[in-house]
């Protein structure tokens, strides 16, 4: 879960490195944002000489969270960092490539473009859960 003021890595080559979440657009007081949600964030750290400057407000899609998510087949997936991918208002990614794995839920939440530029889309480990008495 990404709360206001949460820092997350920016997992693409848009030029921002770290961003801090401000809001979730579309809901007045929404506390939590998770994988696949769009957030409004301010760039806290940026690669020098690239478009996003520190303190520029951007939109981003959350690609990974430490909290992770649970899927209905019983699998849970958690990541080692919080990461987001910078997008523009229409949902197109600002950078050309995403770094690191993303969970496939971003696709189901309208952000299939992020998934298309990602090196690895995780569906987790496939395993039938069996119970033996």
């Amino acid at each position: 879960t990404i709360r206001p003021q949460t820092y997350s890595n920016v997992a693409d080559n848009s030029g921002a490195r770290e961003s801090m979440r401000i809001r979730v657009p579309g809901a007045s007081n929404r506390q939590y944002a998770s994988i696949g949600d769009m957030i409004v964030a301010v760039v806290r750290e940026a690669v020098p000489n690239m478009p996003p400057k520190g303190s520029e407000v951007v939109r981003a899609v959350i690609a990974r969270t430490r909290k992770g998510l649970n899927r209905d087949n019983g699998m849970a997936i958690r990541f080692d960092d919080n990461a987001a991918v910078a997008i523009d208002r229409e949902g197109n990614p600002k950078g050309t490539r995403v770094f690191g794995p993303v969970a496939r839920e971003s696709r189901e939440c309208h952000f299939a473009k992020t998934v298309s530029s990602a090196p690895e889309v995780l569906r987790g480990i496939r395993r039938n859960r069996m119970m033996l008495r």
């Binding site: 229409e90 949902g91 298309s116 033996l132």
Partner: protein
């Protein structure tokens, strides 16, 4: 030793409930030898004897026959959509077979359009064809823009993903480079090449046989 191993075995079977990925870490049931590995047949036998399926994967692995059907259907749909895009004068239409690279899609159809009204026309045309001939609706993915994406499912995974770009966006995102290892599928028509891509078509030798640049 034998009864001990039986009890141990059942405890270890319960251990399968937890996140043990290695089912081979069990001790062998009929152990006269220090074998740490249960073969698949032995596990199946244990399952039959003791097991109870409580919950199964809602996305079961498809049998290879079903999968082959899905492949064929995806291919026919992808070529139909490519033809539809060609009718609306999209340029540089390429169909990549990405299934060996990605698990979540089988085919990527990439096309270029020169203006937003043309993008909208292509989107409309593709949606119509998909709906009429295959009964598929694209997954909602936002408004058409510089990069428009349409995601069609054949089974649970989206199988045909259509990307429509404005030429500048296509170069910017460069998906063809990212998926360069994906084999190109030959299309039944000759796709127009946009005039600005003649330089590129020289570089991408082997994939340009089907392209003719209009001069």
């Amino acid at each position: 030793m034998a009864s001990d191993s039986q009890a141990e075995d059942e405890e270890q079977e319960d251990a399968l409930l937890s996140d043990e990925e290695e089912e081979t870490e069990e001790e062998d049931e009929e152990d006269n030898v220090d074998v740490d590995v249960l073969s698949n047949e032995e596990i199946d036998a244990l399952m039959k004897e003791y097991g109870n399926v409580v919950r199964s994967d809602p996305e079961p692995r498809k049998s290879s026959a079903e999968d082959a059907n899905a492949d064929a259907e995806a291919l026919s749909m992808a070529t139909a959509l490519a033809t539809a895009a060609n009718e609306v004068k999209a340029v540089d239409i390429k169909l990549f077979h990405v299934k060996p690279l990605i698990y979540w899609a089988r085919y990527f159809l990439i096309a270029s359009a020169f203006s937003m009204p043309q993008v909208n026309a292509i989107v409309g045309r593709i949606e119509d064809i998909a709906q009429e001939q295959y009964g598929k609706i694209p997954r909602p993915s936002g408004k058409p823009s510089g990069w428009t994406l349409m995601d069609f499912d054949i089974y649970t995974a989206g199988d045909v993903v259509v990307h429509i770009f404005l030429p500048s966006q296509r170069e910017f995102y460069n998906l063809e480079e990212f998926y360069a290892n994906a084999p190109l599928v030959e299309l039944p028509f000759v796709s127009e090449s946009s005039s600005s891509s003649t330089a590129r078509s020289d570089a991408e030798g082997e994939s340009e046989e089907e392209m003719i640049s209009l001069s």
